[in-house]
Amino acid sequence: MIELDVRDEKAYELAKEWYDDVVFTKKLVLDRSPDYGKLKAELKELREKYGKVALLLITKKPSLIREVKNKHLKALIYVQGGNLRINRFALESKVDALISPELGRKDSGLDHILARLAAKNNVAIGFSLAPLLRANPYERANILKFMMRNWRLIEKYKAPRFLTTSAENMWEIRAPRDLMSLGIALGMDIPQAKASLSFYPEGILGRLEK
């Protein structure tokens, strides 16, 4: 089983006990071009420490997504969802994953057009647990509702997907079989939940080696 989005050292250590493979994610909040030299050095260091690394772009500027992607930084490129223009641009730019398209929204952040685009461009949709853990009951119900809708869309158009905790501390880590229960709560059957922690993540990790 593979955890594709763990964002903290102690969380990473715990995840390594429970998962066969864990990707360390570095969050990058951007409002203008970053210092690519410094970024490459940091990513190199992270690769030495964690092996597999991902870069999570958190930005309001669509153009920065393509710019970072074209730098071939030897890291998976994730985009944090939540803004519809960013969601669309991430899918158009064929990044590796769009994480929580519904984050902070009053709708699910996806529609059938975007779901089809995710499938066509092979951009995985990340279903994260952490935002649910941090939310109050009212928000939990709404986030779950939007995630359920996004699962229905992803399944219908056969877009790649994965389950993850997106843990930012060790207390947000969950064992694989428990993380699968999130997928099942969203409407997945057991094989689909399993594939969201194995088959699809393997496909994404394959891109790293290239």
Partner: protein, 120 residues
Amino acid sequence: MSERPKTLPPTLRDKQRYIAFQVIGERAFKKDEIKRAIWDASLKTLGELGTAKAKVWFIKFDEKSQTGILRCDRKYVEEMRFALTMLTQINGSKAIVRTLGVSGTIRRLKMKFLKDFGWK
């Protein structure tokens, strides 16, 4: 401008129902109190997961007639009705929520169940 996702094609759309309800209480209630009470009732009886599946949504509440409309998933109308049945107070005051009827559209709901409460 905050963009919104396109409306989904019919087969992918949620199948919703509208429920008309009347509130009988120790005092008149405000719109926001009712909105809060509906969510709390659903979270209490159906939980976070049940509330997500029920897709409950507060639509409108007419403070004059103390009647209102809520929306939920077609498959969860009975659960929502039970959640409202189990509600005993709103914002600290005793209350009974009585469902008046269910319909697929707000228009028909108003016509069939809310006319005598002064709804246009």
